[in-house]
Amino acid sequence: MTCCGGRAFTCLLQPLVRALGDGTLPADLFRAYIAQDAFFLRAFTQVYALALVHSSDLEAIALYSELIGGVQEELNLHRVYTAGLAIDLGSVVPNPACRAYTDFLLRTAWHNSLGETLAAITPCMRLYAFLGEELVPNCGPHHPYRKWMETYSAEEFRRLGGRLEALLDRVCVDTVEVRDAYRYALRCELDFFSAVVGS
């Protein structure tokens, strides 16, 4: 279920993503973005954990556990950045778009079907792998956000995203609700990017 091409490109055209890519994003906006993303990643970890709990398939359980480890690595990278940016990751107040996205993910993971949860978490991985692939080749060696973007162009990150998509295709019944969860998650991604620039 990879119906996200159009919206992925829309995200790439967002001012925030463009400025990240060409290195012109002001430091205060990058700081705001990292802070919101850290809040988001904490919720995302919980969503993976809930998906794990609701799975009986051993392969899926192993994948969720690797994904949780992957988010911890992302958060560690955030800590490296935030240490120099004076952000306390523990006291981030989410903006409305970030809150809406995490409420949607957590609601789905707690309350809706496992298929909807899988559909809700897949676009984020797919989108970031796509952004990493598109942006990193154009980054020079002195690009200020190169390290951040390299996380998402790493082979390991792409591989995890690919396994998540394969799991989605293998275990999800294609229903209106599952498609809706996938599309709404992408919309939330778009709103998340827009909100940081508008903040």
Binding site: A100, D103, L106
Partner: protein
């Protein structure tokens, strides 16, 4: 009821959650048909998720909370039936996609139903219902929407809201106010969405 500490402490947010151009147009009988239909369909979707919220809350509460909450669930079941018959009677399609504003509100409620303690959920439910009672009670029970105004200004509904207020007072929690206020912010946005689309 407006003397309740949660309402008093909410400040101007309380007024924003209980007054809107949408309600003014209902009172004046000038509400556009498409705005009314939008509100009806989205409020129906909201009420369906509120049912889940209330059921999850009930499962967490101690004995003294049960009677009002079970009464509230039964009333909500009747209300959903009323929405359905009203939709059929007036050819309003209730099978529509959730508006992002409605979705944000219900995602917040359901997420909290699983992650917050029952005391916080009691304060949230009081916020949902007290705001609704106050919003509709301020309107004169006449005109094309008299049936709606009377429904949410009734003495039965007021007694239920008062009982919820009592429960929220008897079961305090340090996070109650923050969540009560967040409910009010969502109420404000819901009215805005009903009016503006």
């Amino acid at each position: 009821m407006t003397g309740h500490s949660l309402i008093r402490d909410a400040g101007r947010l309380w007024g924003e959650a209980t007054r809107s151009p949408f309600l003014d147009a209902v009172a004046a009988g000038t509400l556009a048909a498409n705005a009314f239909q939008r509100w009806l369909a989205q409020d129906y979707l909201f009420a369906k998720d509120l049912m889940a919220f209330q059921a999850l809350l009930l499962a967490k509460t101690p004995r003294d909370c049960h009677a009002p909450l079970i009464g509230g669930l039964a009333a909500l079941d009747k209300e959903l039936g009323w929405f359905e018959s009203h939709g059929a009677r007036h050819q309003v399609d209730l099978d529509v996609a959730s508006h992002p504003t409605c979705r944000r509100y219900t995602d917040f409620l359901i997420r909290c139903a699983y992650t917050q303690p029952y005391q916080v959920l009691l304060a949230m439910l009081f916020g949902v219902e007290a705001a609704y009672l106050t919003a509709w009670s301020a309107l004169p029970p006449s005109g094309p929407y008299a049936e709606f105004i009377e429904r949410w200004s009734s003495s039965d509904f007021a007694a239920y809201v008062s009982a919820l207020g009592g429960l929220a007072e008897r079961h305090p929690h340090e996070a109650a106010r923050e969540h009560f206020n967040e409910v009010l912010a969502h109420e404000r946005e819901f009215w805005k969405m009903s009016w503006e689309g």
